[in-house]
């Protein structure tokens, strides 16, 4: 079913909002990880892999 111009506009707006929210989420995780690592919290594996 074809979308009306108004629905098309809503859909574009919603997609843009989703893209921005996901980008913000990635930035949030990135910044948080950088702050944690600069504070000396470096993620390390507890187990040996590849044996």
């Amino acid at each position: 079913m074809a979308l009306t111009p108004e629905d098309e506009k809503r859909r574009h707006g919603r997609n843009r909002a989703i893209a921005l929210a996901l980008a913000a989420f990635v930035i949030l995780i990135f910044v948080g990880s950088v702050v944690k690592m600069t504070n000396g919290v470096i993620p390390q594996m507890d187990v040996e892999i590849g044996r």
Partner: protein
């Protein structure tokens, strides 16, 4: 347990074929509730002893806000049937048919998981655990269980709205120390007068939706009396943070002055003739102002008593 009121899924899905806007999804997050949650969470971060990197504080507050929003979306999912018959909530995106209940549930679950995991990974486990518990409490204990079951629904369910400053505190200290719970207590005891004032002039709405709110079940007189009783308890509890070194002279003055006004409005509401709601409306409005101002005063020292 969904109530007997039927939410027409046919109508819903038909109307939901219209494209929902980003604004509709934002409305699912209950932005006004979110702003109060965010604010009290921020005060929890500020008054907690210890330090936190500003970026981490921002992340913690975003997680609190998103977690609160997720709870709101899941509340709207479950309450779609009663929202459709209540005048106050008829304009919400699900009753309007712009978003289906399933979409709201998916949205809420995704945001819940994202906020809790992000809090756990980047801030600490105490804050993440309490955030997860808060979401669970609001959605399962309050919305799905108590709201339609007991007249004490908002008394017990009000705890969900009282957790945010404790989560903010936990984000800084990594623990759930006693002083943080004085802020919890204040919001917990503030919720019944705040909500019942609204329920008084919206009792027709709640009766139509078959929600056992106090004015619907026990009548106006009992509700007005209980509002005064809880207002007294809240007034007394508002001084508890001072005992733990949170808040100074400004807070003491604010708690005394605004608390006195709160009690005055509650008394006027008690004396008001049944069927008139001028003071109920005033108490509802003033209660929001009261909580905002009191929390805004909390960080201002110097503390009147030694912490610990």
């Amino acid at each position: 347990m969904m109530s007997d009121i039927t939410y027409s899924s046919d109508e819903g899905s038909l109307a939901a074929s219209r494209q929902a806007s980003a604004g509709d999804y934002f409305a699912l997050l209950k932005p006004r509730v979110m702003s109060l949650v965010l604010f009290t969470g921020l005060i929890g971060v500020i008054v907690a002893p210890g330090t936190i990197h500003p970026a981490m504080a921002v992340i913690a507050l975003i997680c609190i806000a998103v977690g609160a929003g997720a709870s709101g979306a899941m509340n709207m999912w479950f309450d779609a049937d009663i929202d459709a018959v209540m005048e106050r909530t008829q304009q919400r995106p699900i009753p309007k048919g712009r978003i289906t209940p399933q979409e709201a549930l998916t949205f809420g679950l995704f945001l819940s998981a994202a906020s809790v995991f992000t809090m756990g990974l980047l801030v600490n486990l105490a804050a993440a655990g309490l955030l997860a518990f808060t979401i669970f409490f609001y959605v399962v204990v309050y919305t799905m269980w108590l709201k339609r079951l007991t007249v004490q629904n908002i008394v017990i369910g009000g705890a969900a709205g009282a957790f945010p400053p404790v989560i903010g505190w936990a984000a800084v200290t990594g623990g759930l120390e006693l002083p943080a719970w004085t802020m919890f207590l204040l919001i917990f005891l503030w919720t019944p007068p705040h909500f019942w004032a609204l329920a008084l002039f919206r009792s027709g709405d709640y009766a139509r939706a078959d929600v056992p709110m106090l004015p619907v079940v026990h009548g106006e007189k009992s509700t007005r009396r209980q509002i005064v009783g809880y207002s007294f308890l809240m007034f007394a509890a508002s001084f508890a943070p001072l005992y733990f070194g949170i808040g100074g002279v400004a807070y003491l003055a604010g708690a005394a002055l605004l608390g006195a006004v709160f009690l005055f409005v509650a008394f006027m509401l008690l004396r008001e003739r049944e069927g008139t709601y001028r003071w109920a409306g005033r108490l509802f409005g003033f209660s929001i102002f009261y909580l905002f101002v009191l929390f805004a005063l909390l960080p201002f020292g110097p503390a009147l008593m030694q912490a610990g």
